[in-house]
């Protein structure tokens, strides 16, 4: 028998993970990615003649299967351009649960921002992410796992928030069947997870939990070039105490919008100098015209004495 080197082992793993699409209308076209409970494949819907993404769990596990189905149900109730639409849910002939969704062509945010992009563009991207999450909140759904890997940026700058596997539907109680870890399960991703999530369980988790994660995301997106007002916004969004954060995402988004428009933000108390610089930047065209005019007049005065 051929020796199983690392390459063969990796190919065998991929082969064994492959979904059984026999007796379904889907045909395998490729692998889109892994993570968040299973693998996402690109498949051809042979009836509608289009490509869709098919997410399937890798191993038979009732807990993960329930989470996958629940994620599909959550997505189905969130019809928004910033949230990937789900098409179908069911079980494959090999018994594994799956759902299909729109196939999004683009880059994950962490890869999209690996390229240089001006801060204003980054902030506009952030606002589109915040808008999608705010919509979900309005429908009573918290994401609970916002991070760069869970945001897709399309070819035209459109943004899609993915991976709602840890979402919590407010009012439904804790419905996610998480694996028993002996204590309350910690859900989320380090670096973007709020203190209340890190302490385990879902007690105390509310809209401000996603505000925290969005704040951490904003900090990550702004990278090294944060002006003082942006640092103030980030600091308020990721405050340790929930009461010190923005009460909801629209408040956070409003501050970011105001920053983009060159207006004062609620999270940062300006000095006189800050205010002068901000106003100067905001009205730089008008100021430029006036200064040009004054300089012209001065030159005319200098040479003509009039």
């Amino acid at each position: 028998m051929t020796r199983l080197d690392d390459g063969a082992l990796s190919r065998l793993r991929a082969a064994v993970r492959e979904p059984d699409l026999s007796r379904t209308k889907y045909r395998l076209a490729g692998v889109a990615g892994t993570g968040g409970m299973g693998t996402v494949y690109v498949v051809e819907d042979t009836e509608l003649k289009r490509r869709v993404a098919l997410k399937v769990i890798d191993v038979p596990d009732a807990g993960i299967e329930a989470r996958l189905r629940r994620e599909a149900q959550v997505l189905a109730r969130l019809e928004h351009p910033g949230i990937v639409p789900v098409h179908d849910v069911g079980s494959l002939p090999d018994g594994r649960a799956f759902y299909t969704m729109k196939w999004v062509q683009g880059d994950r945010l962490d890869r999209a921002l690996a390229r240089p992009l001006p801060l204003a563009e980054r902030l506009r991207l952030f606002l589109r992410i915040a808008e999608a999450v705010a919509f979900a909140h309005a429908q009573g759904v918290l994401h609970r796992d916002l991070k760069p890997e869970n945001v897709m940026v399309g070819a035209f700058g459109e943004v899609l928030v993915l991976d709602w596997g840890l979402a919590k539907v407010l009012g439904d109680g804790e419905l996610l069947p998480v694996r028993d870890t002996g204590e309350s399960a910690v859900l989320g991703t380090a670096g973007f997870m709020s203190p209340e999530q890190q302490s385990g369980g879902s007690a105390g988790v509310d809209a401000r939990t996603d505000v925290y994660s969005l704040g951490a995301l904003l900090r990550w997106m702004a990278a090294d070039h944060s002006p003082a007002a942006l640092r103030g916004i980030i600091a308020k969004a990721i405050a340790e105490r929930q009461d010190d954060r923005y009460p909801d995402i629209p408040s956070l988004a409003q501050d970011v919008s105001r920053l983009l428009d060159g207006k004062a933000v609620s999270a940062y108390r300006e000095t006189f100098f800050d205010r002068a610089v901000r106003v100067a930047k905001r009205h730089r065209i008008a100021i430029g015209i006036v200064l040009t005019y004054l300089a012209g007049r001065a030159l005319i005065f200098l040479f003509t004495g009039r």
């Binding site: 051929t2 063969a8 492959e18 191993v59």
Partner: protein
């Protein structure tokens, strides 16, 4: 139609069989257990305990003998540790006791030596020695290799028995060879249509999944442990 119709029905846990009073059943359990674990055990002895090839091969044989003779699995509690962790602890105990003894006495006790190719394992280890992160991670990787190797052997035998050796040959050439051929090349080699290549590959891979999960079931004592092992082997975090 199932590719490998006549494939033996789901077998009993090898962990139970190894402890059986019935010699045939015990031998069957040991065969499964050792077929998956001989390479991890040998590698662990080489890297964790720095044993030379000859010693490591002898100790690996001795380890499987002890496993049966001293009923080591009677103390295995799946709720406290994974089997792989437990086996490593047993190996540590074996080496430590062995070192205390003045001289090694090979034991037999009616347990047949494990018929595995330690020479091949030695060559492989010497090739990858520089990239090994830790004896434990090597043990994990060799375990995954052992599960797939065992499943492939079973699949090959079952395919041959079902008169479908060609299906297995397709898998071997497509998934095991580093120079992966195209479907068209395979079609030409096997004198079949490209659609037959894809259909047969699909069926044989589906069967491989079935056999891999079956091997994992045999090597675990509970549903929870089985799921843990399946996640470790096939899940997103698999090495």
């Amino acid at each position: 139609m199932d590719l490998v119709r006549g494939f033996p029905p789901t077998r009993h846990s090898a962990l139970v069989s190894v402890r059986s009073a019935d010699a045939t059943e015990r031998a069957r359990g040991l065969a499964t257990l050792s077929s998956v674990y001989w390479r991890p055990v040998y590698s662990y002895l080489r890297f964790r305990w720095r044993r030379p090839h000859e010693d490591a091969a002898d100790l690996a044989q001795e380890f499987f003998t002890e496993l049966v003779e001293n009923d080591l699995l009677s103390r295995f509690d799946p709720s406290r540790a994974r089997l792989r962790t437990y086996l490593r602890v047993c190996i540590d105990g074996l080496v430590s006791n062995h070192d205390k003894a003045a001289g090694r006495q090979k034991r037999g006790g009616g347990v047949e030596p494990v018929p595995f190719d330690f020479e091949d394992a030695r060559e492989e280890l010497e090739r990858v020695a520089d990239t090994v992160q830790s004896p434990e991670s090597l043990f994990e990787k060799q375990w995954a290799r052992g599960v797939f190797a065992t499943a492939l052997r079973r699949l090959r035998d079952a395919c041959a028995q079902a008169g479908k050796a060609g299906h297995y040959a397709l898998l071997e050439q497509y998934d095991l060879d580093d120079a992966r051929p195209t479907y068209a090349e395979l079609a030409q080699r096997f004198g079949i249509a490209v659609t037959d290549v894809t259909n047969r590959l699909f069926r044989v891979r589906r069967e491989l999944r079935h056999v891999v999960l079956e091997v994992l079931r045999e090597l675990t004592a509970s549903e929870e442990e089985f799921l843990e092992e399946a996640r470790a082997l096939l899940g997103e975090d698999a090495a």
